[in-house]
């Protein structure tokens, strides 16, 4: 299984951490909500994971990794910067890699636990 590459820059502090909402709900006439989870585990979500000022080497490493995992098609191991735990995740969407100035890039993406 592919592993998310290590870059020359550290990840930005700001990011969103949540879980997938897999609940089933029915609202009763009285206003009560009849609810239960659909699955035994709620998968974690991370959004807004951002790296700034990545250099050309980082860019090449990331693009190679993106080709290896075929975008959102396959899963990979990712070390969550919040709790330093390895998770098997996949990209929520194709990550965006934008050029800030010549030679420096910004990467942002969201991932979901498998």
């Amino acid at each position: 299984m592919a592993t998310f590459p290590t870059f020359s820059r550290t990840v930005e502090w700001e990011m969103e951490e949540s879980i997938e909402d897999s609940s089933v709900k029915s609202t009763l006439e009285s206003g009560h909500i009849h609810s239960r989870p659909k699955f035994t585990r709620d998968r974690k979500l991370w959004n807004g994971v951002t790296y700034k000022n990545l250099n050309a080497t980082d860019r090449t490493a990331f693009l190679s990794f993106l080709v290896e995992v075929r975008g959102t098609s396959t899963t990979f191991t990712w070390n969550c910067p919040i709790d330093s735990t390895n998770y098997v995740v996949r990209f929520l969407q194709i990550p965006s890699l934008s050029r800030l100035i010549p030679g420096y890039y910004q990467l942002s993406f969201g991932v979901m636990e498998e």
Binding site: S22, H32, I33, S35, R36, F39, T40
Partner: protein, 199 residues
Amino acid sequence: MKTLSAASIVEKNRLSSPYPWLILLDIAFPNNTTYLVRNTDIVSFKGNDYTPFPFEIEFGKETSAGDIPTVTLRVSNVTRVIQNIIELSDGLIDFDVIIHIVNHHYLSDDYSDLDLHLTVMSCTCDESWVTFNLGLENPLQKRFPKLRYFRDYCNWKFKSIECGYGGSIEICKRNFSDCKNPKRFGGFKGLAATNIRYV
């Protein structure tokens, strides 16, 4: 009336519960039975490990027109795993599918009253889903009488027990001239060659 254990009934009647009700699927493929669960993790039930797999079940409407109710089962076909088995086994027609509905917290309870034992009536595949039309056999569509009387057409399926042929030939035209085991020919040579004979 369907019966459940007291704990399951309490769980069912809760306004909110942390324990999910899961749908488990036993599909009897030709050489083995595949156990699938619509869940994020593996579930062990009655000694079998149910693999997480994407599938959806749609229960048909019951009408007063005498239609036999059917269930539509859609199983993910993204990896073509199921389709391969289907193509090797003539569309899985007449194979058995069992649907279990269980509570994850009380897996050791008896849920047999909630089980649905169904048969594959038809099957279609596209790039995303394998769709099984499940139901019970319609007695009005069964052949009666079971055997028909033809002069030169064998009733027996080639290489079946009734046919009795165990050789290497793979094709039989099921007529007397092509019969590989004429002693067991499943036609009725005594019937007239033309027209219908009433016996």
